[in-house]
């Protein structure tokens, strides 16, 4: 989230698209209701199904799964055509006026630079035209044909309301009604908040879905303002923390990149990361990359990381592929190329696409370690559970170690919520039985491995032997020790220019501004710096005081970065430093500095007329309507059909799907076509359950006991499926047999004149726990992910459905 949960109450229009906030985030949804009741806000829901969120919406319209970009590009076209944009904001705060290179282009579904052999883009042309000083050229009059805004206008021109209707199945009148509600927030004192979740990410165009909406928000001038922003509602209490701390294969803590094979030296690595300003005088905060990186290395390797050894850069693994995401991991496993797997707090057997492939891949491992508080499907993948998990244990050689871990209430630590609030929690009870904290388990594994390396040597022992392990009890590092390490500390006295000591050696840092690239600071995650200072554990703060009741609560826990509650908040004020909406001011220029209720996302004394843009992480200081080379699949969002789609791509039939998405050969063969699987399947959560956990809890099992799918009345009638009747839902990979909920809430959509039926598949049931056994929706889903993140395409795929007799119990 750029903003906070509580800040949703400040919105005038709430767009829930690509998510089902009421269903999956019922507690946070209170702020939507608050906005409706206290502010008279309008709630707009765009979703293939009439959801629980839709049940309290002011306006609902359906959309075919996987066509959000077409819809939103249509919105952009509408906003530009009707001139319903926040002009001053767009001119001053976005790259609308910057001029793009002449060799950039887009033809027949492909951007310039496409290589059919590499199946990837050369993104060189996706850049600004630079002047002699290396700065991007600009046309403040917005007349130049290659101004970003003009290219954008041209790009979205194809997305007429008629085309949107043909692609999305959204009736034109309803689409236009949504456009008008959105357009109403272009006024400087009105905001729209975008609440989204996995309904946007779980697509082969997932990242672009979100980008398109971010562009809408930039055009409306809604980024950085109270009641605005792009608000990703995370699906797990600490999934934000997971990405922040770099638990993705291509990331290190604080969104630093994992080095690549092509970057053998630190200099190579820093060259492409230390972004120089692309406009005069801009902050381009990533220029500090080296400070973050060196401090991280000092934190990881301690004294062993020195200037001489390039801060132990050599000891870091180097990626030979863009990332080792979960799909790639299981592809390697399936091909016998990955032999061991440590699965911590994760249930791939239930969570990853194409369950049969996952099961067979796990069966090819030599060993599997599962760390979880619960008995998971993954740990039991080898057991035969009948049709819900057919398996022959005699044929599986995988040695499985199930290590029971403490639950969140059984050890202390922090959880990072969607609003980037890092909140401390305390231990409430001892873990049951033999369960141990994750820290203790990881420490035990690491210490044994390290001892083996010490004793027997081995290939490339340095990273293991030199890992800093400076904990009071090395067998069980304590949460607050780790938290302090993440915050960072001074290794030597930090001095200012005049030689005065700013921070004494050994003291905790106040924030990332104190980080240095000379090895004098250590910091485990630069964006979390400030979370555990000499003043104590900032994450444990519980002061709910909220100035102006604007939903910031600045003294409650710690929000990264720098305890900033609303990102890009410089943009909440106009170029002169006056809030666009004085009633919901966040910060303002008081003549000498930026002051207000939040930590400014800007130099605190940088004058408003200094020409410094508000998006200080970006090289040009501006919000990007043109994404440069930052997205693998194009600087502008383009509609591509899901990899399994019932219809051709109307815009460019030859490039129907996202060309930059990665598909493994076997998985491509496993895709189904509309002739055999004519209906669109989509998966989702229900309020009654949390993923695959709460099927272990009786109360939740009582509230939603049994696997089912949702089918519209028209299709049910066509197929002779009765209410609550048994059906077989199949994809080209496998099938699920479950009960049908025949509902009015899913209606066929007219896509290019032909009806498209959607079948909804809630995903909570498996073969462990107290709820009734289920197949799991991932039995059906295709093994393909988003081009940028590899998040699997769970939201749009092809299935067939037919009534079947009730299974014999």
């Amino acid at each position: 989230m750029t903003n906070t949960w509580q800040d949703i109450k400040n919105a005038d229009v709430i767009l829930v698209m690509g998510g089902n906030a009421a269903e999956a985030h019922p507690c946070g949804f209170k702020w939507v209701i608050e906005a409706k009741i206290e502010r008279g806000a309008k709630l707009v829901v765009v979703d293939p199904r009439f959801t629980r969120t839709a049940s309290v919406a002011d306006f609902y319209t359906p959309i075919r799964p996987g066509t959000d970009i077409a819809f939103l590009n249509g919105v952009i076209r509408h906003l530009l055509a009707k001139d319903a944009i926040q002009h001053e904001y767009v001119r001053a705060y976005t790259n609308a006026a910057l001029i793009v290179r002449e060799d950039f282009g887009f033809t027949d579904g492909l951007f310039s630079g496409w290589s059919a052999e590499k199946h990837d883009y050369d993104r060189t042309s996706w850049a600004y035209e630079l002047d002699d000083d290396g700065y991007a050229k600009i046309d403040p009059t917005l007349q130049h044909p290659r101004c970003v805004i003009n290219l954008l206008k041209h790009h979205v021109d194809r997305y007429t309301p008629e085309m949107v209707e043909r692609i999305c199945g959204t009736p034109k009148a309803k689409f236009l009604a949504v456009c008008d509600l959105i357009a109403g927030t272009a006024a400087p004192d009105r905001t729209l908040t975008s609440l989204f979740a996995l309904g946007w990410t779980q697509h082969s165009v997932g990242s672009q879905n979100i980008r398109t909406m971010a562009m809408v928000q930039l055009l409306l001038g809604n980024i950085g303002l109270s009641g605005g922003g792009m608000n990703a509602l995370r699906g797990h209490s600490n999934i934000q923390g997971l990405t922040d701390l770099g638990l993705m294969s291509e990331l290190m803590p604080g969104y630093l990149a994992m080095p690549k094979d092509s970057e053998p030296t630190l200099a190579d690595y820093l060259k492409t990361r230390t972004y120089k300003p692309l406009r005069p005088g801009q902050v381009s905060y990533w220029q500090n990359y080296k400070k973050f990186f060196v401090s991280l290395q000092k934190s990881v390797f301690g004294a062993a990381a020195t200037a001489e050894n390039d801060w132990a850069y050599e000891w870091l693994p180097k990626l030979d592929v863009p990332m080792y995401d979960v799909l790639r991991a299981f592809e390697l496993m399936a091909n016998g190329k990955m032999n061991g797997y440590i699965c911590q707090g994760f249930n791939p057997q239930q969570a990853f696409p194409n369950r049969a492939k996952v099961r067979s891949a796990l069966g090819k491992l030599k060993w599997l370690v599962v760390m979880d508080p619960l008995q998971t499907e993954t740990a039991s993948f080898w057991q035969d559970h009948g049709p819900q998990n057919p398996s022959d244990p005699a044929k599986i050689a995988t040695e499985v170690f199930a290590l029971p871990t403490a639950c969140f209430a059984e050890d202390p630590g922090s959880l990072t919520n969607s609003a980037r609030w890092v909140q401390w929690h305390w231990k409430a009870a001892d873990p049951p039985g033999e369960a141990k904290s994750d820290n203790a388990i990881i420490a035990a594994i690491f210490r044994r491995v390290q001892a083996l390396y010490r004793k027997d040597g081995g290939t490339f022992p340095e990273p293991i032997l030199n890992l800093s392990w400076d904990y009071l009890d090395p067998d069980e590092p304590q949460a607050d020790e780790i938290a302090k390490e993440i915050n960072g500390r001074a290794l030597t006295d930090l001095k200012d220019a005049g030689g005065g000591v700013l921070v004494h050696a050994g003291r905790q840092l106040d924030g990332f501004a104190q980080l240095r690239d000379d090895g004098s600071t250590a910091c485990g995650c630069w964006i979390y710096s400030g979370c555990y200072t000499e003043h104590g554990n900032m994450m444990a703060r519980r002061d709910a005081a909220d100035p102006r009741e604007q939903g910031l609560a600045p003294h409650w826990a710690f929000a990264w970065p720098a305890n900033r509650r609303i990102m890009y908040n410089r943009a909440s004020a106009d170029p002169a430093g006056k809030p666009w909406n004085p009633e919901k001011a966040i910060i303002a220029w008081n003549g000498t500095r930026w002051a207000g209720i939040d930590v400014p996302d800007f130099g605190p004394t940088t004058k408003p007329d200094s020409g410094v843009g508000p998006f200080i992480m970006n090289q040009e200081g501006l919000g990007r309507l043109f994404a440069l080379d930052k997205m693998r699949d194009g600087p502008f969002p383009e509609h591509y059909e899901p990899f399994e789609s019932p219809v051709p791509n109307l815009l460019h039939p030859k490039v129907a799907t996202n060309p930059a998405a990665r598909v493994f050969a076997d998985d491509r063969k496993a895709f189904g076509d509309a002739a055999k699987f004519p209906y669109v399947g989509t998966t989702y959560r229900l309020t009654e359950h949390f993923h695959f956990w709460t099927k272990h809890a009786l109360a939740n099992a009582i509230l939603q006991p049994e696997e089912f799918c949702e089918i519209g009345e028209v299709l049910a009638k066509e197929k002779g499926i009765g209410q609550g009747g048994w059906v077989r839902v199949s994809s080209n990979r496998d099938h699920v047999i479950c009960k049908a909920y025949v509902t009015k809430r899913i209606k066929p959509m007219l896509v290019d004149g032909k009806p498209v039926h959607v079948i909804g598949l809630p995903l909570h049931w498996g073969f462990t726990g107290v709820a009734r056994k289920g197949y799991g929706a991932n039995t059906l889903t295709p093994f393909v992910g988003d081009a940028n993140t590899q998040t699997p395409e769970f939201k749009a795929f092809l299935v067939n459905v037919e009534p079947v007799p009730a299974p014999v119990a």
Binding site: C27, F29, A699
Partner: protein
């Protein structure tokens, strides 16, 4: 009965006589704003948790209603209705079902067990299990089809409006758990006033018939709904449009009870009077003689009489 005063009981099933009525207390109410309810079932979970209820795990039956109906261990239940008016604007009406805590409770009226159902001064209608005889009359008395008699212990159960929590100054568990503030709790006066504001808001959003459901047929209720379609409560999974204690129950528990007893007593008295006035019909010696004669001599001919 000793605790009638301390428990602020104002009405007691199957009891004659007036309960103490000196202490004053404000009437409470739970307001369920259907228009802001998202059907998350947190209220259902909280009810189970607070009251230690675990109904049997059922099956999926073609609806999000789980369990499928109220039962002795399910005191509140989200009921989901897909409503499609002619204009095609689908609505998913979600109503939290449970005891309405009527000002004039049909269950209490029907209950034959003294003190098994009581009404507290704050308006809460509560079942006192140790006095319940399991007859199921409350089920027949209730205009809302709420009480459920257990097959296990033959006691009748329903929402207590968390009378235990309320008496300690807490809100009911469902209210505490509701994430969207769709369930509110306070004095009936405050809730009614707040409902008025909500109704105005709904009207401004195009629900011309929005209104408060506080049916006067049962004297008003201590659980009230804000409905978008207050003109048609039955849209919400059969919420009664105009609930009142059924005339059959009224007749049964109203006039018939005293009338029947009086009639029986009158008959007995009439017999007594007849005895006193006419005396017993005794066999006379001549009857015995005539009878024996007939037995000895044979039947003879029937005498013609009259």
């Amino acid at each position: 009965m000793a605790n009638e005063q301390s428990l602020d009981i104002v009405r007691r099933s199957a009891s004659t006589g007036d309960p103490p009525d000196i202490r004053k207390e404000q009437q409470v109410a739970k307001l369920i704003d259907v228009s802001r309810c998202i059907g998350c079932k947190a209220c259902q979970a909280a009810c189970m948790e607070w009251n230690n209820l675990r109904p049997e795990m059922e099956h999926f039956e073609g609806s999000y209603d789980n369990p499928a109906d109220l039962n002795p261990a399910t005191w509140t239940l989200m009921r989901f209705t897909e409503y499609e008016p002619e204009d095609g604007h689908l609505e998913w009406l979600i109503r939290k079902d449970g005891c309405m805590h009527c000002a004039d409770p049909g269950c209490l009226k029907a209950c034959p067990a003294p003190g098994a159902i009581v009404q507290y001064r704050n308006g809460i209608v509560d079942f006192i299990s140790e006095a319940c005889i399991g007859c199921g009359y409350c089920v027949k008395g209730c205009p809302f089809n709420i009480p459920r008699v257990s097959k296990v212990d033959h006691k009748s159960y329903k929402c207590s409006l968390c009378s235990d929590r309320v008496s300690a100054g807490l809100e009911p568990a469902c209210v505490k758990a509701c994430p969207t503030g769709a369930i509110l709790f306070g004095t009936k006066e405050d809730m009614t006033q707040w409902a008025g504001e909500r109704v105005e808001d709904l009207k401004s959003r195009g629900y011309a018939h929005a209104g408060l459901y506080d049916p006067q047929g049962v004297g008003g209720t201590h659980v009230m709904y804000v409905l978008h379609h207050a003109d048609r409560p039955s849209l919400y999974a059969g919420l009664p449009d105009k609930p009142k204690i059924d005339p059959l129950v009224q007749a049964w528990k109203g006039v018939f009870k005293p009338v029947a007893l009086a009639a029986l007593a009158a008959t007995a008295v009439a017999g007594f009077v007849h005895w006193v006035v006419r005396g017993p019909n005794e066999v006379q010696p001549e009857d015995e003689a005539a009878g024996r004669k007939m037995l000895d001599d044979g039947p003879g001919k029937p005498e013609a009489k009259q």
